[in-house]
């Protein structure tokens, strides 16, 4: 066998990476460390115009120092970057587009920058690839959106460059695996460099360079809800959910959204839930960040297992002291991992329950507004019926059996269904109606030139709607007309709700497709804050035996 000069090369990626790292080698010292003041120069050495770049931007922890430095590179050399990352919550993420350094964005969640994303699209400063769910985006990291350079963050590095991501591991392993094993470059910012790590979360040979950031990375306590702000109306909705859904289906494996309704449910488990005899029959296995409002239920022995997408500020010691419930490492601290939590959330849950800003007359729901490209993070992965599921649980089977016309789709083949529940007051903040003829997502699609209106949960995945008027059991509806009637029946005084026909609503109630609080035997006069297992943050601290350490802004006593 002979070789000649025209033979195809198969290692262009690693050769390219080696060349870039060689250019950066003058900044990188022992233990792969570089100095904060060399960061811009190092980024200019390893990044080329048109590269796909990931800045670790999770729900919570942010590679904010590296993001700021990327904004300072020489844009005559580095431009047209294609950013592929979970979230763009920081102003610096969008500054890259304003500054002409980045051009294209593929992401999952916009958060506070959602308005700028929409504005930049219409001004031509930002080319939107797609709005993904987390799992889709992670999947594409391993297909057609693999980053060439990833800028990640961790709590600590040791002298060799091993990383400790600890409590908030979130997306780090996924980003690093996709980048490094495709011969890309991984650069980490850490809060401190130490002699010995509590545990190794990312091995040093998967990392190319590490910097001790001039200040700790930004982290947001996104999942802390003050029980003091839970309203009686939310308590009523929570009672309806517990009696009409949790008890009706005995759902064990659940994800809760981050709104106040699900906080109210969590705080009612040890009181109203216990009264309904649900302990051990519902909420035993959860995919959930360490919500402080879960403390009373955990302490009362409701929960067997919780796996987390990320951490939550202030819950570190509590979680470490409850290793029978949470996934913790050999060092005793939480190990979160968004990819695994989302996978469990997509395939292994029996129910997703959360809130939304709008539900249309067909049951499609979205938090998109006409001028904000917000994205939905992980909700759509959990708020859908995963058609690839094959294992069976009682609640999944029951929800499927109740579908009267499944046979029109798949003949006589039995199949279960995930419960997907939206709990809302019929009017939201500022008395904006939640039930609408048409989602604002349509206007957004027009304003931002999207192919599809961004829908969080599709109508055919939604199985239950809960409002102050009662519960619509959409899975029990024979067709779209019946679903629309059931939605109208619980839509209150919105334009959708006032179209409800009283005779039709009565028939739906007789058929068990709509149930009012009275039908369910839920006493409205008991919808009172005294029913909450904890009424303020201080109560949560007491429940935790002093282990929960709330962030300063939640300490109001």
């Amino acid at each position: 066998m002979s070789t000649n000069s025209t033979e195809k090369k198969w290692d262009r990626r690693s050769a390219d990476t080696a060349e870039r790292l060689e250019a950066a080698s003058r900044y990188i010292g022992p233990g792969k460390q570089f100095k904060p003041e060399d960061t811009v120069a190092l980024l200019e050495a390893v990044i080329r115009a048109g590269d796909r770049v990931n800045i670790e931007g999770n729900n919570q922890k942010q590679a904010d120092f590296l993001a700021e430095c990327l904004n300072k590179v020489d844009k005559s050399r580095i431009h047209d970057l294609h950013m592929v990352q979970s979230a763009v919550p920081l102003p610096v993420h969008l500054d890259l587009f304003e500054n002409g350094i980045a051009k294209k964005l593929d992401f999952a969640f916009g958060g506070p920058q959602a308005g700028r994303v929409a504005k930049f699209i219409s001004e031509g400063k930002l080319e939107l690839g797609a709005i993904h769910t987390y799992l889709e985006l992670f999947g594409r990291y391993f297909l057609d959106l693999t980053p060439k350079v990833s800028l990640i963050c961790a709590y600590k590095a040791d002298r060799e460059g091993n990383l400790y991501t600890g409590f908030n591991t979130e997306d780090t392993p996924t980003i690093v695996e996709a980048t490094k094993f495709r011969q890309g470059i991984v650069i980490a910012q850490v809060n401190e460099i130490v002699d010995k790590l509590p545990r190794v979360d990312i091995p040093a040979d998967w990392i190319d360079a590490v910097v001790e950031s001039p200040r700790p990375f930004f982290i947001e306590p996104l999942f802390t809800r003050d029980p003091g702000l839970v309203t009686e109306s939310q308590i009523l909705l929570a009672m309806l959910c517990l009696k009409g859904i949790y008890a009706e289906y005995e759902v064990k494996r659940i994800n809760h959204g981050i709104g106040f309704l699900t906080s109210a449910i969590e705080l009612l488990l040890p009181t109203y839930g216990e009264e309904l005899g649900l302990k051990g029959k519902a909420c035993t296995h959860m995919i959930l960040n360490p919500h402080p409002t879960m403390i009373p239920a955990i302490e009362s022995g409701w929960v067997d297992t919780i796996h987390c997408f990320g951490g939550e500020l202030g819950m570190e010691k509590y979680v470490a002291a409850r290793p029978d419930v949470f996934f913790t490492g050999p060092d005793g601290t939480l190990r979160s991992n968004r990819a695994y939590a989302q996978t469990a959330g997509h395939y292994a849950l029996d129910m997703f329950i959360g809130g939304t800003l709008q539900i249309d007359k067909y049951g499609n729901s979205s938090t998109a507004t006409a001028s904000r490209v917000a994205g939905f993070g992980g909700a759509p992965n959990m708020g859908c019926d995963a058609k690839g599921r094959r294992h069976v649980t009682d609640s999944w089977l029951k929800c499927g059996k109740e579908m009267p016309t499944l046979d029109r789709q798949i003949g006589n083949m039995p199949r279960g269904k995930r419960l997907v529940v939206q709990g809302v007051e019929t009017f939201g903040e500022g008395r904006a109606p939640v039930f609408v003829e048409e989602l604002d997502a349509w206007k957004l699609a027009e304003n931002a030139n999207l192919d599809l209106p961004p829908v969080m949960i599709y109508g055919d995945d939604l199985t239950h709607v809960v409002t102050e008027e009662g519960i619509a059991y959409l899975n029990r509806c024979a067709d779209i007309d019946a679903r629309m009637a059931a939605i109208r029946a619980v839509a209150g005084y919105t334009e959708i709700g006032i179209k409800a026909n009283p005779d039709e609503t009565r028939q739906l109630r007789e058929a068990g497709i709509v149930k009012t609080p009275e039908d369910l035997g839920v006493d409205r006069s008991r919808a009172n804050r005294s029913l909450l297992a904890a009424r303020n943050i201080r109560d949560l601290v007491s429940w935790s035996g002093g282990l929960y350490n709330p962030p300063a802004r939640f300490r109001n006593w």
Partner: protein, 105 residues
């Protein structure tokens, strides 16, 4: 914050009943409201006075109060609502709680 006052009367065709004693419920906290219900000879009607910081929802207020009055068959009652951005869900909840307290139901 400018406050809007909305006043209207409702009268059912059916036989109505009043309450025995005045009751007061709720607080004017954010997202909440207080309601005062008192018996008053109005020839079977219900008089309503709502003070709210939000303008432009007169029809919605009327729908919600009408629903409450027709489901409780209330008459000869004056309702006074001091609102601080309560949603219709909260309004109905407070009215029903007030009615339950007033009638001991």
């Amino acid at each position: 914050m400018a406050l809007n006052t909305l006043e209207f009367d409702l009268k059912l065709d059916e036989v109505t009943h009043s309450i025995d004693t005045p009751i007061h419920l709720g607080v004017v906290g954010s997202g909440d409201m207080e309601v005062l219900m008192e018996p008053k000879d109005l020839k079977g009607a219900v008089s309503v006075r709502i003070v709210t910081p939000v303008a432009g929802f007169d029809e919605l207020w009327k729908r919600v109060v009408e629903k409450f009055v027709s489901e409780t068959l209330l008459g000869d009652v004056h309702l006074e609502i001091n609102d601080n951005n309560a949603t219709p869900a909260v309004v109905l909840l407070r009215l029903r709680q007030g009615f339950a307290e007033a009638t001991g139901e």
